[in-house]
Symmetry: C2
Subunit: 420 residues, 2 copies
């Protein structure tokens, strides 16, 4: 078979290490140019394919591609864009295949979360039906750590490390201020549906009384009275209280804590992270001085404190995706299989996209302590290896050096335009 | 003169490197035990002296003291506690001298900001009047960088580095999301009165169009229309807009942006960082999707990304304070004097507390661009050396190792109790 080109796209919220996966894909493909001629990257993800706006990664130097290893964000642009079902929007799938055909693209690497795995799966099916079979590989990426089958998801380990380190550091701060000032510190972290990131905050504490004293998971219905009681206890017993709250924390009826229905002076719904909601409760009911932080994008772009394990795995799934494709596998995703906890050992296997697409893996009940406010030993065993090791970027004049890509466009070949 | 003991206390908001200063004080004192017998640290700062609750640092191993170099927070506890004027509360000063006398304390090292320099100054004066002259040294510490005379303040360089690095990282994130998702990212940073920390965010951008596109300083009266116009321009020209906003950003009439006077469903004043206020403006007026982060304590405790320059200077001021004291200087503070920008060179000198106490150094107008939204080349020249170099803490199992102090109490000698 003559060499064909590959298409690589980043999808959904980016991570500190998604570019390490891109590096794994591109470097591995470059070693097999007899089969994969060039890797084209979608500018702004799948939209780049639909609009025939692709980047020729062959125009980048080996050094620039290597620098992706330590560059956060999505180097080619990502997209929050979910292809609809086949019946609803067949035109999009047909356009995709049309572009692939025009550019001799025989390999599709889709780097994303649940939705993206579904898209990769569908593209694989429709390309066959349309007589232009494309080898479709899902490549896992999500800070939410909620993909099934794989033991963990690239991107999560680094957020987990950021949250654990930040919790430990802020706890030392508030501990030293508590006698005369702040007594309650609240850190809001990501995870709208699953509490994996919030759970990682728990790694900062090793023994009874260590911060964080309270974790609020989306998986545990929030009970205001129990929460406030526990805050009061912590302040009494330890002098202060550190709370890690997931943005997805909710009441038993499913309503998010962040959804307060409050209005500003103009009658507009008041914005507000869950951290400020929890802080208000502490102030109004306990009268305690608080501070809160909202990590937001800082947590998922914090390449400066990335987990070495995570960086390695992010590269490995990119590398494996190309190898699987070259071995003739399609409609699969590389998954991380943990073979041992102590010492931590893992390997890459492949799993069919059909088993992964559109499924979410929640924090299991056995990872949450009985009172609902902490993590168990089993959770620590699972989480701890994922944050291990530091993988520092190079610095110039005090700031991390990042990849400078040329991002040269592939010349369009189609006469038709496609509007997304 | 027979050896006397020293009293060291941490004051006000802690920093990522205040313990490096403690290390400088203690290690230097230990080299001169013929003059300084023991260093006692105030538990929770000056309150520890008033309540005769002091920690005998002599009970700590050399390794534990050395580990203070990479431990954020205040290892002995800090206090937000300002001694009143002499006329208003002479009893407090007298109590302090009484405790110093009972414990043979001839040296007072007060590690803090403006208020603390005032206290150290007053203690120096009253101790003489009371016939028990104490050698009083102010030791600079403040993330706000607002002490006069000194070129910069220990603690600031590390916050500056954290803010610059975080801004750069988050900007890469939002840049890759902007086409289909978030277009405006807002980072709220500390600095209620002076815009030094916000200015540091400006280091993330080197040229026109680089993020951050807008910095909101306390020194520049906020004009909503100009701000929104600039946001719109940035999104049009660059596809996205990154804003760094100081918590002290305010209107021309002096009112803080954060002070919105909004009420929740129960009529309580709505909490809200300035970030959410700015975000609401962007949403209501421009209809753009935004995200915001509030760094809060994370920024000032982020020892994991401390500036090597800052760590060195934090140690140096502690060391110099002891040396000055041993040389018979009193009522002075070690100041950092910059002798060259390129290469960056500095040395430590001493300055009288009277010149420093109760004065704030604002961001000079020449550091702010004409439009009020950015930093000038002069600001870069000043700021850039302060964030240079990485000084990583050691890690165990993915988390920074911190000093474990025994914090053994000095046996009280006084019969009287003092309630603060």
């Amino acid at each position: 078979m003559p060499a064909m080109n590959a298409f690589y796209a980043q999808s959904g919220g980016v991570t500190a290490v998604i570019n390490a996966t891109a590096c794994g894909v591109i470097e591995t493909a470059r070693k097999h140019q007899n089969k994969i001629a060039r890797v084209y990257a979608g500018r702004n993800g799948i939209i780049g394919a639909l609009t025939e706006d692709m980047i020729d990664t062959d125009r980048e130097s080996a050094a620039a591609i290597k620098a992706l290893m330590h560059t956060p964000g999505g180097a080619f642009g990502s997209a929050r864009y979910k292809l609809k079902g086949l019946e609803e929007n067949r035109a999009e799938y047909e356009r995709l295949i049309e572009v692939f055909k025009a550019h001799n693209i025989g390999y599709f690497f889709y780097n994303g979360g649940n939705d993206s795995m579904d898209t990769a799966h569908k593209v694989s099916q429709i390309s066959k039906k349309m007589g232009f079979p494309v080898t479709c590989l899902g490549v896992p990426k999500t800070v939410d750590n909620d993909l099934p089958v794989t033991d963990n998801c690239p991107g999560f380990g680094s957020v987990a490390k950021y949250v654990a380190v930040s919790t430990q550091e802020a706890a030392l701060d508030v501990a030293s201020m508590a006698t005369t000032s702040t007594k309650v510190f609240i850190l809001e972290v990501m995870g709208r549906h699953a509490g994996w990131i919030a759970a990682a905050g728990g790694l900062a504490g090793k023994k009874e009384g260590d911060a964080p004293h309270i974790i609020l998971f989306p998986e545990v219905p929030f009970k205001k009275r129990d929460f406030l009681k526990r805050v009061r206890q912590c302040v009494r017993d330890y002098g202060f209280c550190v709370v890690v709250v997931s943005e997805g924390a909710r009441y038993a009826n499913g309503k998010f804590l962040a959804d307060q229905g409050t209005r500003d002076a103009f009658g507009h719904a008041q914005l507000g992270g869950v951290a400020s909601v929890v802080a208000t409760m502490v102030r109004d009911n306990l009268g305690l001085k608080y501070h809160y932080a909202i990590a937001d994008y800082l947590q998922r772009s914090a390449r400066h404190i990335a987990s070495a394990t995570d960086v390695k795995q992010a590269y490995a799934v990119g590398q494996a995706a190309v190898k699987f494709a070259l071995a003739g596998k399609s409609a699969v995703m590389p998954v991380i299989k943990r073979t041992s906890d102590k010492p931590y050992r893992w390997k890459i296997e492949s799993a069919p996209l059909g088993r992964i697409a559109n499924k979410e893996k929640m924090l299991p009940a056995r990872y949450i302590t009985k009172d609902g406010f902490g993590i168990t030993a089993a959770a620590r065993r699972y989480l701890e290896p994922l944050i291990r090791g530091e993988d520092y970027p190079p610095y110039v004049n005090g700031l991390p050096k990042v990849a400078k890509l040329r991002n040269v466009a592939v010349k369009p070949k189609l006469k038709t335009r496609f509007v997304v």
